[in-house]
């Protein structure tokens, strides 16, 4: 089943599951509104576009507002879409509201967020380089990345530095996906989802949650059992 919902990361806490403590991230999902249903005939593929969170009207253009108005909703701040197969595209209709309870009976999810920005970071923090020694005559180069390849050798690609060479630079504030996080609990009333472990991004940031694909075999069997239960 392919399903994606947008939501907000609220924060972390821990809950008891079968007498054991489980660290969880609390996500408030939706309510998301279906703002467009794309079909093979009209768009060349089957997909569903969702809108989430009200936008300020003064920041919206008329075409943007009209797009959401077609679905009968107020202007939305975020729009994301996901592909669905031909069989299930009929389940979605314009203006339909989807919330966390859509994830009932789903055991594992992938969560996509924007990681926390770390600014301009050195090689040690950004790529886990070891740096240089603290003593033994090392001066002012304790956290330097070391050699980045010379003119003559192939590591430097003769006369220039290889593209993509790991060096200092901006770290964080990019899209990160954590895969196959177990769903611990779903609160349909408040549209909350509790997933095990941390999720990229700061609290209050936008996250996208989708059903896990490509699970490990042990997790896949578990997911199947829960889906059929």
């Amino acid at each position: 089943m392919s399903l994606m919902l947008m939501g907000t990361k609220l924060g972390m806490t821990r809950v008891f599951v079968d007498g054991k403590i489980v660290p969880v991230t609390v996500l408030q999902l939706g309510p998301c509104v279906v703002t467009q249903v794309k079909t093979q005939e009209t768009d060349g593929y089957n997909g569903v576009q969702l809108g989430f969170a009200d936008a300020k009207i003064r920041t919206q253009t008329i075409p943007e507002m009209a797009h959401d108005a077609k679905a009968g909703t107020s202007p939305k701040l975020y729009h994301r879409e996901f592909r669905v197969c031909e069989k299930t595209i009929g389940d979605y209709e314009l203006g339909q509201v989807i919330a966390a309870d859509a994830f009932e009976k789903i055991a594992f999810v992938d969560v996509t967020g924007t990681s926390k920005g770390k600014g301009f970071a050195g090689g040690m923090k950004r790529y886990g380089f070891k740096g240089q020694q603290a003593t033994h005559g090392v001066e002012r180069k304790h956290r330097s990345p070391g050699s980045i390849g010379g003119h003559g050798n192939n590591a430097g690609k003769a006369g220039r530095i290889k593209k993509g060479k790991h060096m200092a630079g901006h770290m964080g504030d990019h899209q990160v996906t954590v895969r196959s996080l177990p769903v611990v609990r779903i609160d349909a009333e408040q549209s909350l989802m509790l997933v095990k472990g941390p999720v990229p991004g700061c609290n209050t940031s936008l996250v996208q949650v989708r059903c896990s694909t490509r699970l490990y075999r042990s997790k896949a069997t578990l997911a199947k059992e829960i889906a059929e239960a």
Partner: protein, 130 residues
Amino acid sequence: MSTQMLIESLNDEALKTDIPVMDIGDTINVHVRIVEGQKERVQVFQGVLISRKGRGMQEMLTVRRIVDNQGVERTWPIHSPMISKFEVVRRADARRAKLYFLRDRIGKSRRLRDRRRGMEHVKGHPTVRK
């Protein structure tokens, strides 16, 4: 409802309301549920409460007892469903919040002074913290 309140409300059901007033230094009984396959039994761990830390759902407590002249410490989340009951056996005077110094004590100096008023000072007060 603020976000913080919302997150904390997730644990409302798990929070115990029947925890007795236990201070650091008190000797307490901890009734631990032990699940072995289908069977379940209760084991009582008696010792001195030497540490309580954290608050709300996160609160942990450490109990120290001496078994065969060997110190044994166990730490649990205070709201753990694996603990069925706490009992206060003896109340003692402690001047610190954490009694880690007991780990270095041997023999008689391991003992803590009884509260002079015994259990008197809790009389009239609710013994269960709401």
